[in-house]
Amino acid sequence: MRIKSPPAILPSRLRVRLVLILSLGLASLCLIPQAGAEYGDVVLNRISEANDMRPVIFPHWFHRLRFRCKVCHGELGFEMRAGSNPMDMGKIIDGQYCGMCHNGQVAWSVDECHLCHSGKPGLKTGIRGSNQTGGPGRW
């Protein structure tokens, strides 16, 4: 017995092309997960550019390979919200905040300005590379 195929809504060649394009589109979404920052990267630009320096890019991934969260967010007193830590170079040179390690002993010293001040001009302070919910990704 032969079953009649249902009437096509689109011409079959067009349908095939459409399916191919959609599949490739979906596949490319999987291939390029997030064009952009690494998960947890923080941009610090409260005062950098106003002082003719590039914004600071703080990579969480790099630091958590070497330190547990509790070191910076416990011992060093970093608040867990981008932009809420009132640090400046005076305090850092004084050994506070980043200066606790970036002193030429634990990590590179503050005279390597460009290693931290490495961001594109115009970036706004906040956490990048994370999920865009109403919360931390937008801070």
């Binding site: 399916v19 690494e38 390979l65």
Partner: protein, 183 residues
């Protein structure tokens, strides 16, 4: 007809191949944050160089940080000051107000391996069962668990990692569990 019979499996195959592809990390010069003109680009460590050696995950940094720590792929420092007290707490809490979703099992151990008690208590969570009106709206707007999960810890797309205990198999009482699960 013949073309179609080739196209469907090919497209499907391609999608699966790409889904199963090895995780990749974007080079610093192309991440949209670092200035490609900055002299730092040549000196800073690339994410792929460090993260590709660690146990894989499919979200966040594409790294299972818990496994990386447990299996000693990494040994991050616990303290800078010698007098800092390091506390690890092995205690699970079951939360039952999850609607129809599986119950939430919160394991203190992996959290205290990274964090200090005072990072959460009592600033984010009151140190008492049932004292915190946690809900997903608050979490999605960055409160409670959402302070870290969605920013630096695994993202809020991974429902089952927290909602991990099916209602049908849980026979105990919610709250502090007598025996922590092996985690």
């Amino acid at each position: 007809m013949k073309l179609k019979s080739l196209v469907y499996p090919a497209a499907l195959g391609l999608s699966f191949a790409l889904l199963a592809a090895e995780p990749s990390w974007i080079p610093l010069a192309e991440d949209g944050l670092h200035d490609p003109e900055s002299p730092a680009i040549k000196l800073l460590q690339e994410p792929a160089e460090a993260l590709s050696r660690l146990p894989a995950d499919n979200v966040g940094n594409k790294v299972s940080w818990i496994e990386a720590l447990r299996e000693q792929y990494i040994e991050p420092r616990t303290n800078i000051f010698p007098e800092t007290k390091i506390e690890i707490l092995d205690m699970d809490i079951i939360m039952e107000n999850t609607g129809e979703l599986p119950l939430v099992m919160f394991p203190h151990r992996p959290h205290t391996e990274w964090l200090d008690c005072k990072n959460c208590h009592d600033k984010i969570f009151v140190e008492k069962v049932d004292a915190n009106p946690i809900n997903m709206f608050a979490i999605l707007s960055g409160q409670y668990c959402g302070q870290c999960h969605g920013a630096v810890a695994f993202p809020l797309t991974e429902c089952n990692r927290c909602h991990s205990v099916p209602r049908s198999i849980f026979t105990g009482n919610p709250g502090v569990q007598p025996q922590p699960a092996a985690n």
